[in-house]
């Protein structure tokens, strides 16, 4: 499998799980968002809103490398 990289931005309560190399997280090309989260010990149950290169995605979305992935947990305060 090909080793490629993504940028990962975790919001709100997920920010504590941000890896040190969040600007260049190594992944295998073709893996799902869910398996990247598992690889990084990020609780996918909190991955409520997932966007890939600025477009809404899901835990099942596949990553090829080079993407910017953002993840929001549920947020409802005011």
């Amino acid at each position: 499998m090909n080793r490629v990289y993504i940028q990962l931005k975790l919001f709100a309560g997920l920010a504590d799980f941000t890896p040190e190399n969040s600007d260049r997280v190594p992944i295998e090309s073709g893996v799902s968002v869910e398996s990247v989260l598992r690889q990084l010990d990020i609780p996918s149950v909190k991955a409520h809103l997932i966007f890939i290169n600025g477009v809404k995605g899901s835990l099942e979305s596949r990553l090829e490398g080079g993407e910017r992935v953002g993840i929001f947990p549920p947020v409802a305060g005011g």
Binding site: K56, A76, G77
Partner: protein, 286 residues
């Protein structure tokens, strides 16, 4: 009545200057108030009549030229329902009143508590226990007594929503839980009006605008009947004043755009913000 106002306006108009030095005609806030009292109409009607005659109420001088007289009249003719008068709603109320939104429906069944003081603009240490709706109405009157308000010290429900939203052009979601947000979304869809929705946790937040035919909150939170939680990460992180105030300001900027029918709004888009590292990103929801 309007004829009487028109002739008095011409007498009361004074010479003024815009920020860039351009001469103009102005009317003072106190003259607007006096004219409204004398003629028995709300101050906002006097302000509209003045603007229609090229006379700028001095309180709006610094809205020009960003807002034309026509824009200002449009805002003064609008009615906005602000649902939730805590962190988001307090600042939204303050800002929409200063911008010159002519009619505000202010909805919240809650009273101020000490833990509101870290961020809620309308909360005061000498006002704990007081109704948020009533204090919001008093605040609007202190800023501009010419604005018409309808303060409702109740929580929004499916049954009271039609009456509250019926005459509104726009609702601003300033709530703090998911179920109420979905209730408001259903009610605005039924009322046929758009809704601006922002949510905050810590220093992060997001905002979108939903029109009746849109997928709406479901695109952010999933289907309403599958909600597993009523609160989000704010239970862990709280809500910090800069995050809340920024998201509230964004709601006001968006309210301006929606009320003036601008094209570049956040419909089907989500602006996400994190003040922890100054991330601002606009995402495509649909």
């Amino acid at each position: 009545m309007l004829d009487a106002i028109a002739s008095r306006l011409e007498q009361l108009a004074d010479a003024g200057i815009l920020g860039d030095g351009t001469p103009c005609k102005v009317i003072s806030a106190s003259d607007v108030l006096r004219l409204a009292d004398d003629t028995g109409v709300p101050g906002r009607i006097v302000e509209i009549a003045a603007l229609e005659r090229g006379i700028i109420p001095d309180r709006y001088l610094r809205n020009r030229q960003s807002l034309s007289a026509k824009d200002q009249i449009q805002l003064l003719e609008s009615r906005v329902c602000i649902v939730g008068l805590g962190g988001l709603g307090g600042l939204v109320t303050e800002t929409l009143a200063r911008m010159g939104i002519g009619r505000l429906t202010l909805v919240d069944g809650d009273v101020f508590e000490a833990h509101n003081l870290n961020r809620q603009l309308l909360s005061r240490s000498d006002g704990l226990g007081r109704s948020k709706a009533s204090d919001a109405e008093n605040r609007v009157a202190a800023i501009n007594p010419g604005i018409e308000t309808n303060a409702v010290a109740e929580y929004l429900t499916a049954s009271n929503a039609p009456a509250l939203l019926g005459e509104c052009d726009l609702a601003v979601d300033c709530l703090d839980n998911l179920r109420s947000r979905f209730t408001l979304a259903r009610a605005t869809a039924q009322a046929g009006i758009p809704m601006i929705s922002a949510a905050v946790a810590g220093l992060s937040g997001h905002i979108t605008t939903i029109f009746p035919q849109d997928k709406g909150l479901e695109a952010i939170y999933g289907p309403a009947d599958q909600l597993k939680v009523d609160k989000g990460e704010e239970q862990l992180l709280g809500c910090l004043a800069p995050g809340v105030n920024l998201m509230a300001s964004l709601e006001c900027a968006e309210a301006l755009q929606v009320l003036l029918s601008k094209e570049n709004i956040l419909r089907n888009r989500l602006l996400v913000v994190d003040l922890g590292d100054y991330t601002f990103e606009t995402l495509q929801l649909a």
